[in-house]
Amino acid sequence: MNGHVVETPTWPGSYGDEAKPRVGFFTDTSVCIGCKACEVACKEWNDVPAEPLGFTGESYDNSGDLGANRWRHVAFIEQKVPVDGVAEAAPDSWVEEASRQQLVEHGLEPHEDGSGFRWLMSSDVCKHCTEAGCLDVCPTGSLFRTEFGTVVVQEDICNGCGYCVVACPFGVLDQRKDDGRVWKCTLCYDRIGDDMEPACAQACPTDSIQFGPLDELRDRADRRVEELKGRGHDDARLYGHDTDDGVGGFGAFFLLLDEPEVYGLPPDPVVPTRHLRRNWLAAAGAAAALAAGVAASFVGEAR
């Protein structure tokens, strides 16, 4: 599996000589520092409208999730880690802990080595799936597979039907309310054609977001996960790397330090198209039943 080119149903086949190497992202969350520079850089380059930020009260993440106006989103997770089997090394909530100790006036020093507390940060993005549900269901052909193997919405064609929104197993696409159309990450289609890396990858200060030809990224990810495991991080795992998964592998995949759902990612995403044949079959059966029912209701009626 290593090093080989992951082909999509229409790339490179439909491009012939014009096909470029399939590119993507490898987001190594083990070095993400949660700075959100990728979110900002993406917004600036792609002219994505600002949205008034509230205060979630959940963590340092106040932007919530991906959407029409957020094509990169950095998740921020606070975790209590059992140390050597002791689960209660750290409090569940630092706010509660502070009030319990009546440290409102003085504060408290929450971190110390071995206290069993950790932060996970991860920059989420469109996965540019090998088998893309959004692309399959788009009734206008607005969504298409580029010569780089990425998935892009053509905004001059999208009529805002919203089908891709519910076809995406990751909740990536959404409709921009005042605009009516659907927007998502283009993997900076306008930059990569000019040999520039996407804005988020360029802005990332720790190289947590790595851009490049997908086969190279996949090799690099294999080495990185082995390295982390060698250092004792048994919980390091790749997400979206397996081409046998429900979407044929991601064009933008991840190295995670916990289960995908902890980061708000589905643990076993499946493109709806995998069930298409069954769905049409059930409808054909229902149509036949309807025809039979109509015919039966006329039984005994003389012509």
Binding site: A75, I77, E78, Q79, K80, P82, V83, E88, S93, E97, A98, V104, H106, G107, L108, E109, P110, H111, R118, W119, D136, C138, P139, T140, I157, N159, G160, C161, G162, Y163, V165, A167, C168, P169, F170, G171, V172, G180, L228, D235, D258, E261, V262, P267, D268, H275, L276, N279, A282, A283, G285, A286, A289, L290, A291, G293, V294, A295, S297, E301
Partner: protein
């Protein structure tokens, strides 16, 4: 445990610094330790294995983790952006499609009066449907972009074409039946419209089941038959209302038959889905489902009773069936939203699959 207990209560600053500004931890946490998440852990869907505990790979003994996790209880997938027009269209499309097939059958068996009125019902249902769909678009002026391509992988693309052609043939079909012309072209249009009524009434189930929305995609086997039966019930009820009683016997049979099948299929679906079927039973969708079931059963009973004795009773039954059919589509629509909102419906079944594959 508290800070005093571990003897490291380094007190400083104020409460706003209760979370470290400059963490010195090794990113990634304690090596080898299976982390336990602190965020919302919704109860698990379909956890037939009871308090099953998982263990992470690694040599050290791990503390059991709570499952499934989510990112602060947020949905994994996006809710539909579809508004009231879509479930209304499911109803009008079903009514129009089944009416067209029914009208053709009436025509073929020589029941001209029943055919005429059913063709008009079909025309009404199939004409209003594209208007509803266009109104729901984010960019209604771009409706024609639907006809740029034909994609069998997109039920909406297939449906757009089928509905467009059905609209184009139902008009001459109805005209031919009511006005007597166009004669030959009208006859051909009637056959095409009658045949296309079948996909018009059923493809909408594929439209919703071919998504990532848990209660829609997992109901893929039952939804088309449920929609078809609901369409039959509404078409039969509408034709019963519009036609003199002595000519409407086939319409009554279609309505009652559709109502019975719909009730049975809905019951089968909810049982098969088990815990994942909760969104069909709870909240707004649950109320609509109860209304749909009640109206359908009462409507079918009234029609059966009124058929011999009283036209008003029969008509009341027909109205109940129409309302029940509409409620049924709204149930499915609303249940979809509910199943997106709670991540347990998305994550639970997927986590089960992963676990099953591993074991």
């Amino acid at each position: 445990m508290t800070r005093e207990n571990d003897g490291s209560g380094d007190v400083r600053g104020d409460v706003r610094r209760a979370v470290p500004e400059e963490p010195t931890y090794v990113h990634g946490g304690a090596p080898g330790a299976g982390p336990r998440t602190t965020q919302t852990t919704p109860s698990r869907v379909g956890d037939r294995r009871g308090g099953r505990r998982r263990r992470e790979g690694g040599e050290r003994a791990m503390v059991p983790r709570e499952k499934p996790s989510s990112y602060y209880g947020r949905p994994v997938i996006k809710p539909p952006v579809w508004t009231w027009e879509i479930p209304t269209y499911f109803f009008t499309g079903g009514l129009g499609g089944a009416s067209a097939t029914f009208a053709l059958a009436a025509q073929l068996t020589g029941n001209r009066e029943l055919a005429r009125r059913s063709w008009l019902i079909a025309l009404g249902g199939i004409s209003v449907s594209p208007l509803l769909l266009t109104s729901d678009l984010g960019r209604p002026m771009r409706f024609l972009n639907m006809l740029r391509v034909f994609k069998v992988t997109s039920p909406m693309s297939v449906g757009s074409w089928v509905l467009t052609i059905a609209g184009a043939v139902t008009a001459p079909a109805a005209a031919s039946s009511v006005l007597g012309r166009p004669r030959r072209l009208g006859r051909i249009a009637q056959y095409v419209a009658g045949a296309l009524g079948l996909p018009v009434a059923t493809y909408t189930a594929v439209l919703v089941s071919n998504t990532a929305v848990p209660v829609w995609s997992e109901a893929r086997w039952e939804l088309p038959l449920s929609f078809a039966a609901s369409a039959a019930a509404s078409a039969g009820a509408a034709a019963t209302l519009a036609t003199p009683r002595e000519l409407a016997a086939p319409a009554r049979r279609l309505a009652i038959g559709g109502a019975v099948v719909e009730s049975v299929v809905t019951e089968i679906m909810e049982r098969r889905l088990g815990e994942l079927g909760e969104p069909y039973r709870e909240g707004v969708a649950g109320k609509l489902a109860n209304a749909a079931k009640g109206l359908t059963l009462v409507g079918a009973t009234l029609m059966a009773v009124g058929a011999r004795r009283s036209r008003p009773v029969m008509a009341a039954g027909a109205v109940c069936l129409l309302a029940g059919s509409a409620c049924e589509r709204w149930t499915v629509f609303k249940a979809g939203f509910a199943s997106v909102k709670d991540p347990k419906y998305t994550v639970g079944p997927q986590r089960d699959r992963v676990t099953d594959r591993a074991s």
